[in-house]
Amino acid sequence: MSKKMNRRKFLRVSAASAGTLALAACAPQAAAPTTAPAATEPPAVTEATAAPAATAAPVAATSSCQMDWNPTFPQPFKVYDPPLEVAVIWPPGMTFPEGMSWNNNPMYNRTVEYTGIKFTIHWEASGDLLEQKLAADLAAGTLPDVFYAAGLFLEQLIDNNAIEDIKSIWETTASPLTKEKKMYPDYKWWKPVRRGDKLYGIPYTWGPAYNVDNLCFVRQDWLDKLGLQPPETVEQWGEVARAFRDAGLCQFGINACKRLVTWYQSLDPIFGAFGVMPGFWVKAEGGTLKYDSLSPAVKDALAVIRQWYEEGLLDPDFYTYGEGDAAGHIAASKVGLFTAPWWHGGMQVKLEQENPGMKLAPIPYPKGPQGKQGRKASSEVGPSVVFRKGLDPLKIEACINNLNWHIEMHVNWQKYQQYGEWRNSHAFVEGLEWVWGENCELKDGPLAMPKTYEWMNTIDFGFPYVVYPTYQADPFRDILEWSKQDPSKLNKAQRFLLNNPIVLREADYYSKVFDTLDTQIVNEYFGNPTDAMKQYLPDLSSLESEVFTNIVIGNEPLDRFDSFVEEWKAKGGEDVTRDVNAWYKATFGG
């Protein structure tokens, strides 16, 4: 019974706050948007609830609490009236709380109100199915208005004149801030969509420190127990792992999985300590690229890992585990040293809550014998947003305006809203993400952040393309700043965010990745697979992982590396290298 009451109460609250109108009503001090359309559709829940009048009552009761921040959204750009419909691809299986739907929720309503675009569902799919459906759409001439494309698919779309050249609309519509933040026109992520004087799309511009760059972590509680210092060199990694293992604290010591260089539980910082990154194309002398797996230093790194394996500092079966399976070793206290991206911070908070005594702490990337440090960098060049051939130019303009709006809101957030977290991307809606608690402080609402994060990824379809290099870093840095300030100087929203240990931990880790950009090793090749690559790379990549893993686990002698280098070159690697360098020269001149 009481459960039901809570649910009803929640519905009322969310109903009242679903529309941005209601939001504005809660904040009398807010400057009302200037040219906002009259209203969004009435929240469906009002119809669903028997007594619509009752919905206002609880809000009136709670709104005796005052917001001390500005919750309104900016309106600096053009609003299309009547709204334009733009068909996009949605991921399947989105769920919404009762009374909301894909086209009636705070995120969606906000976009309609402030930009005048209604994103509609062309179809729902993700992954392989998405690609297949796009291909089928292309053949049938029924492409979505806007979608993502990358690699060969993008190239073929351009070659077959299936997408619009947006150059002139982009030049006139994109704001100077947008162009600056997305590093138009010369940064490398613009290369795939630029053809001579034409522009075929807007690239994803995640920039560095995207979500697969690894940090190193140690079991701080074990270090404290044994009175050890955090390891700073590759050699010390071995020593610390040995000490952990010998003290009976863990079974192995260092975590690894079947892919040595990967996005999670990776050993890339070990290779980085020797200044190399297997699988990457790196700059060599004379303005050329070389395949780094062949560098002699890889052999040194393999020797270290092989030594660890021999001593039992790695799981004897590590090569049978995927990334996620290997991560289970952390919770099971089988390992004390591992790597993970910044988002592991949230999982670490939970791990520490579930395993009393466990304390995980970040450590710097280990140094190699020559004092080098390094980690793999994620690819900076990703897919691009493209517009189907024949799309109404007004809609293209509207999408670019939408982008302007997002970036303006994110960059100049202090002009518009003061809570900051995720800035534009997060609706931060009362009754969803937060509700009023005692003493008029904010407390967690019924809908946790991951949910609205999911919507944000979809609605506006916009999330990935509105980003720019420091998109994630900026709000995280702000959060870190607030955490050093006197809490009484902060507003309620800021205090609410700082109360969340996950946000704080993630902010800390994220800025650690961002602060070590100078140590990252970048894969310089981002072109499409050439004929030689298609012919030889599948064989060469499996040869490489086979040889490296077999060296590590002692099935093959260390000197197998030398014959591998020769084998790689002889089995088509020379041709691949030639193609890669031809691409490099063509793309970056010279």
Partner: protein, 328 residues
Amino acid sequence: MTELIRTSPSVLLAEKTARATTTRRPPFRVILKQHWMLYAMLLPALILLALFHFYPIWGVLIAFKDYSPVKGILDSPWVGLDNFRRFFESQNAWPIIRNTLFIAIGKIFFVQLAALVFALMLNEVRIRIFKRAIQTATTLPHFLSWVIIGGIMVQILSTTGVVNRVIGLLGIAPIRFLGRPDIFPWTLIFSEVWKEFGFAAVIYLAALTAINPELYEAAAVDGAGRFGRLFHITLPGIRPTIVLMACLSLGSVLNAGFEQVLVLYNPVVYRTGDIIDTFVFRVGLVGQGGMPDYGLGAAVGLLKSGIGFFLILLSYWLADRFANYRIF
């Protein structure tokens, strides 16, 4: 002697079919009128077959084209047998074919052998509840997918897993079942045996029940022991079934078990564990640089299907020849 031949089942069957073809068949129109309900019942299945099995066959064109999803199947340029040439020129082609044959034939042989021995052993068990329990327990793994079994296998075959602990008690050093190229194919074969022998034994158990118990009684009276009865009654009695199973399994010698290999293999054992299907998956569906090599994948798939088709024809011919088994 002629009498004996005349009454042998294959001859009778042949005669029957011969007679059927010599008497004039009524025109199809008449048959349709007579049996239209039967044909109507057949129709939905035929439509489904045509829609989902025959219609997509034109997609094999991809195997002869430089397929691009943007251009579509018809408009992609023809490349003749280039995709096939690329496969056979790839360093992996022959090792993959060799691995596939070795693993598949090993599986067929050992699964059938284990099932036969198991069925014979179970047939000797007299306590009914015990028999049932054993049979249920051994059939069960067949119904679990390899994704689940794979997870279990990785655990029990790990260096610290159950299997290695048991053989550790015998003083044998841990064996890397999943981490040694020479052992891995056998790991695949025997994990398949473990999963499938119980189910494969069902057909032998069924055949065993068809043997007339009087034969056993008579043999016992004549003084035949347990093994005597096994070799002179049981085995001859189910010989047609054994031959049939051997013939029919010929059709699957190119199927080394895609899911199983995919969940169990790792970089260490690529050399001996990579099979045609995993290759097609890696190259034709996952691809390099985000772009699958559809043409190559389709070509290899078509090649496999072509050979498989021939082998199935062969297996049915053999089954008809040696075990009197025919569908058509």
